[in-house]
Symmetry: C2
Subunit: 194 residues, 2 copies
């Protein structure tokens, strides 16, 4: 009846993605996903042996989405590496703010065990994009490229996290994260005017 007949496995993941985006982490219970997919609560087990396996598949979709957005940003941004870095950072922070539930799910540490969410397939591609750009703007006195990129990534991630948590708005008195983003980039890459 419905146009697409994509198979239950994909449907479960799609429902889960939709659910975590719309209602947050606490809504993605196994039974609720099954319910909304129109199957019994035991059905998912055929494709995902355990709940966290399903959650991992959902989180993987989140990483794919973020990666796609970053790639689109990279297409649209100009050639200047510093400008590209700014755009990349903005995309990261916007994603975290717009898709809070998904962002939290993606970085849940209990989804890492026993190879469900392999870092090489998820965060590493993103880091590679960042690291390449960082290498282009790195100054001789800076830390080695991987360390510099790692520190910058951590800074972005921390801003996203603490901003959503509410600490940074309170502590800095700011109403948006732009000043923080600018400060972080200037700190790690040097001021823009130089």
């Amino acid at each position: 009846m419905s146009a697409e007949e994509t198979g239950l496995r994909a449907r479960l993941v799609a429902v889960g993605v939709d659910l975590v985006l719309r209602e947050g982490q606490s809504a993605v219970s196994l039974r609720e996903i099954a319910r909304r997919a129109g199957v019994s609560h035991g059905a998912p087990r055929r494709y995902f042996p355990t709940h966290v396996d399903l959650l991992s598949a959902i989180a993987r979709e989140g990483f794919a989405d973020l990666t796609a957005r970053v790639e689109e940003t990279m297409r649209d941004a100009g050639p200047d590496p510093r400008t590209r870095l700014v755009a990349l950072a903005r995309t990261y922070l916007d994603f975290a703010a717009a898709h809070r539930g998904m962002f939290e799910l993606m970085f849940r540490h209990d989804l890492l065990g026993s190879g469900r969410l392999r870092l090489r397939e998820t965060s590493l591609p993103l880091f590679t994009v960042l690291a390449d750009l960082v290498a282009q703007v790195r100054r001789p006195t800076d830390a080695p490229a991987p360390v510099l990129a790692g520190a910058l990534w951590a800074n972005l991630h921390g801003i996203a996290q603490l901003w959503a948590w509410g600490s940074l708005p309170l502590a800095t008195g700011a109403t948006d994260d732009d000043a923080l983003l600018r400060a972080a980039l200037d700190a790690h890459l040097g001021p823009t005017l130089a």
Copy 2:
């Protein structure tokens, strides 16, 4: 009979702290805490109307512990503000690494609702210590003091988070977080030799 007769409320929190430190977030269920405290599962309700209220009290204890460690560090560190900042940062990262479950619990965003965990009582005192030190080493061309301090804090927090998550060890190839910490401090506060 036992020496201390501290009242159930405090005992529940103590058991919860012990439990989250030893076995992580998933172990701090209401019923398990009650069990280990030797009371029925309904007893905690007399002091904590809901489970997250109890969790918030446990997290608050975590912030108190971290704050105490920071203050001790500040006592032992010398007068040089930069040195004090390094020590502060080290304490923060060490705490996150040593007490993973507690650190996660402390920054669970769902413990913030309806004034259970008020930021002013928890993270703000810590931020104030950091901000004061940052203000002392801030250079004229740097971002305003609160922004600079906020960005640095976010960097620390991000390193703690992503390091525990395993991304940073993989991405940078490092075996400890010292290089990242140094890079972050140098970036935000300027290199040490200057």
